[in-house]
Subunit: 143 residues, 6 copies
Amino acid sequence: MNPNPVNEARARQERFAHGMEVLTRVDGEAGRRVIDALADISPELGHQVAAWAFGEMYDRPGLGPRDRQLVTLGILTALGGCEPQLEVHVNAALNVGLGPQEIVEALLHSAVYCGMPKALNATLVAKKVFGERGLLPRPTEDR
Amino acid sequence: MNPNPVNEARARQERFAHGMEVLTRVDGEAGRRVIDALADISPELGHQVAAWAFGEMYDRPGLGPRDRQLVTLGILTALGGCEPQLEVHVNAALNVGLGPQEIVEALLHSAVYCGMPKALNATLVAKKVFGERGLLPRPTEDR
Amino acid sequence: MNPNPVNEARARQERFAHGMEVLTRVDGEAGRRVIDALADISPELGHQVAAWAFGEMYDRPGLGPRDRQLVTLGILTALGGCEPQLEVHVNAALNVGLGPQEIVEALLHSAVYCGMPKALNATLVAKKVFGERGLLPRPTEDR
Amino acid sequence: MNPNPVNEARARQERFAHGMEVLTRVDGEAGRRVIDALADISPELGHQVAAWAFGEMYDRPGLGPRDRQLVTLGILTALGGCEPQLEVHVNAALNVGLGPQEIVEALLHSAVYCGMPKALNATLVAKKVFGERGLLPRPTEDR
Amino acid sequence: MNPNPVNEARARQERFAHGMEVLTRVDGEAGRRVIDALADISPELGHQVAAWAFGEMYDRPGLGPRDRQLVTLGILTALGGCEPQLEVHVNAALNVGLGPQEIVEALLHSAVYCGMPKALNATLVAKKVFGERGLLPRPTEDR
Amino acid sequence: MNPNPVNEARARQERFAHGMEVLTRVDGEAGRRVIDALADISPELGHQVAAWAFGEMYDRPGLGPRDRQLVTLGILTALGGCEPQLEVHVNAALNVGLGPQEIVEALLHSAVYCGMPKALNATLVAKKVFGERGLLPRPTEDR
């Protein structure tokens, strides 16, 4: 109680630094660019994305990074209108060990639960990311 | 081309039977009850859930059953208003090998992407399912 | 300009009365009950549903009542969480000439565009309404 | 049971060919382009759009093509973020016999159920399609 | 009853004129451009936005213009896919007396309820509007 | 860096205690009950609602409690399927100084942006809360 402002500012700064570490490990350069884009309009939102979403939530034990991306891909596909975030997270999914085929299959699977249009939109985001990373055309592994 | 109606009916029946097999393996009794509830209003929707969603989509290689449930939990939490389906799929998640702690963690994770209210609604569905399966209170593994 | 308050109140009252006429024709008793439920909390919302949504929008030429219900069923199914309104509008659909089979088929069709869970939720609302109107079980017309 | 792989591959190919026929009839060139865009990223999603969504679901009796487009316009408007699919389906709506005035009226109607912003977004998609097909300005039939 | 068509057309025209007055006061030029864009495709939607949404709903007593924009910012952020409308309403929010800091804080607050992706999308819309109005970079008032 | 686990546990506990203080001030008993309901299934979600959502986000300067509730009412109405949270926040809105008439007006206003069904659902939640707090019938202040 009765917190010391200097200590509090340091704790806040440490939480941000730790969050940026997790964010960079998961999302790579794309994640950093989001925080940078917020600097002149809502640095606090940038702080919360880094310190809370990544430093605190992502970093929890109990569910591995690969599993977290599967959940995240499902959510972002279902929400709709989150193509910029999907782009970051398709990159993140590749970064944490999901294979291109698994990502494509997860988005195909989503058609059952949120319909063809959102599955199509998400798949075309994956196409963009895969193209940038030299992963297209995918080898024909479909049965 | 020029399909034989008898063969076609048989193929359709086989696809349904195969789908029900997959559906029962993944969703258990809860899945069967959905198909039964549709029998007098939209047997075709029941057919499509079994034959297409499970027999064709779920059964594809390229993403394991556990991974598919993580994506599905993400989607259903994000959509909102799908508590009955979440109930079936929290059960399914347990059936295909996700631990209670992983499910709870996936729903906690969803708060970052679709907000606290939907994460709360989904977590209370998990509470109901866990209670029915004797999994409450969960051991205190949180750090 | 410079409107006369007495005339304005009369115009407002006439728009409400006309709206209630259209609302009752389309939605029947269920529509009236919505307006009644609003009387002690938001009579103005009741006024707008009647006078604007029905008296002005529904009553426009250019799209028949049956067509409007098809659009409405699509919207309410896609929105999710609008089961009370779907119930009113499945009734409305029957009132304006859509057959039970057409309604069920429209909800089945919606699975392609908004996924199985929302199609299921909407179909179970139709089951409730059809049951109340003695339309169950439906004759087996599926191919 | 014990399916013959050659027969199964042929059945799959036939379902795709039939679906492409229905898809082309309803959506025209725009539909084909969606399938083509998926070829190097998720040919299976392309297959499911053609073989299942069009070959199996669209092609069912019980609801005519014009009625299916009304439902589809309602769903896509309500979902939001599905402007590319709306563009395909405004074209489809014109292809299967909905007049420009009926389409515009359906989107106006949607404002009652999903609000002005989504009705505006959908109407501006219709404006783009109508413009490309030489249907603008529309004759002033509004009362 | 038995309305005089000339009087009715005049009443309709007066409601539109009044609505345009309110719309221009709240949304400024951006609001006018929306109505103009609708002129050749759905003048009736333009009429309803002006006459009903602004002339009738916005203009009601009981909630001030500043409060209405707070509610509207919350809704548009949550809906997703409504970036064009958010742009109009971030402008409107500034017009009716919300400070840049309050707008940014409202969008940050929305992250709790509808998740980070939608809060990010909305904040980047605010960044665009603030940039056009010379309000960037914001002074560092964050604690 | 190299954090001391005892200090960290204390900091975490302090953040929770502070959050519960803010939560109780805003949401009253209803807020506490949410945290309690999570205790045996996801105590971490309860922690995050208290410590982060309330202790950190709600408690920020830059937007007053009354304004935050207006944004929150808009979001929850638009999301749909969040009736339990709306109930908590209609109570919260009354607690922080919004009058019953202002709340009803905000929900009426939402009809413009997210349509009549969601405005109706939210208004009926308000009716339930107002009834429990002896605020019904509302005095007839509508013009």
